[in-house]
């Protein structure tokens, strides 16, 4: 029989460690975000990153969560996204595109280094992952408005029925 208590202990300490790691990054990140916002730097930073948002077909407000997710990890990108959605800074269209990009491509530094350690070609891995994510996101960006209108209409229909 499996030792229930030791598995429970492993899950408890492991999950607490993860939560602590998240807190250590998310709290300073949110403070920096507020500071950047109040200094109006976030707008300027978004302007600076505009070429990226243009290629991907996302709004310039989406570039900050994109960069955070790309380098720090999906959970941190999602953290910023959740906050932006709450503040009303992100449209549904951008939310979809951001998540599509980020689920395919996130924490690129850590993920790439892990695999280089086991003998994979890091440049090929990183390049392939980024190119595929960019192509996929920009393709969806071109068609997403139609899809969203369609699904909205379906929801309305369901409500009427």
């Amino acid at each position: 029989m499996l030792d229930f208590l030791s598995i429970f202990k492993e899950a408890f300490t492991g999950s607490m460690e993860s939560v602590f790691t998240i807190a250590k990054i998310v709290i300073p990140l949110m403070i920096v975000m507020e500071v950047l916002k109040d200094l109006n730097v976030l707008d300027k930073l978004s302007d600076f990153l505009k070429p990226i948002s243009k290629i991907l077909g996302i709004s310039k407000e989406s570039t900050f969560p994109l960069i955070i997710g790309l380098f720090l990890g999906l959970a941190y990108g999602a953290g910023v996204i959740i906050k932006s959605v709450k503040d009303g800074d992100l449209r549904k269209r951008d939310l979809y595109l951001l998540i599509i990009f980020l689920v395919a491509c996130h924490s690129v530094i850590e993920d790439t280094l892990i695999f280089v350690a086991i003998g994979a070609n890091g440049w090929l891995l990183l390049g392939f992952r980024i190119i595929i994510a960019v192509v996929l996101t920009s393709l969806v960006a071109r068609h997403i408005d139609k899809i969203l209108i369609k699904s909205n209409n379906e929801i309305k229909k369901e409500v009427k029925e």
Partner: protein, 152 residues
């Protein structure tokens, strides 16, 4: 558009103690949101890890590995990576002797699709459907695995 920029300008008064307070508050809120997901999923996965379920899935998936040019044993690495996380997969990969091509293929596949329970739960919190997330990740992993096996 113009209206919005006027609004942000009037809202901003430079950095005050309120900036710091707001930052800490939203930091704690976000941490709490993520913590609830992480602790729940972590517990489930830790228990699943000690059942024969993962081995069983790996055995069923082994014949599929041929289309990616990987040995059947690589299935366990893919299953561990997708269910648990990349570090678990690395442990399994280290015990296989893969060629450089095979290592790159499995690395690309796993980098598109990994930690599915944890990351899908986090992605869902933003308001996106989990089915969509899984569909994208599986398709990217499978298609790139087949493609790289052919071109590398």
């Amino acid at each position: 558009m113009e209206n919005q920029s006027v609004k942000t300008k009037t809202k901003s008064n430079g950095i005050t103690i309120k900036t710091l307070k707001n930052g800490i508050k939203s930091g704690l809120n976000t941490t709490w949101t993520l913590a609830k997901i992480i602790v729940t999923v972590y517990f489930i996965i830790t228990f699943v890890k000690y059942t024969p379920l993962l081995d069983w899935i790996a055995i069923k998936c082994a014949p599929l590995m041929k289309i990616f040019g990987l040995p059947g044993e690589a299935a366990i690495a893919l299953v561990l990576g997708n269910v648990i996380n990349l570090y678990a997969a690395i442990g399994a990969i280290a015990s296989l002797s893969l060629t450089a091509k095979q290592s790159t293929i499995i690395a690309v596949m796993l980098s598109f699709s990994h930690s599915l329970f944890m990351e899908s739960a986090v992605a869902k919190k933003t308001g996106i459907s989990v089915v969509l997330v899984l569909l994208i990740r599986f398709s990217l992993a499978i298609i790139s695995g087949i493609l790289l096996n052919l071109i590398l």
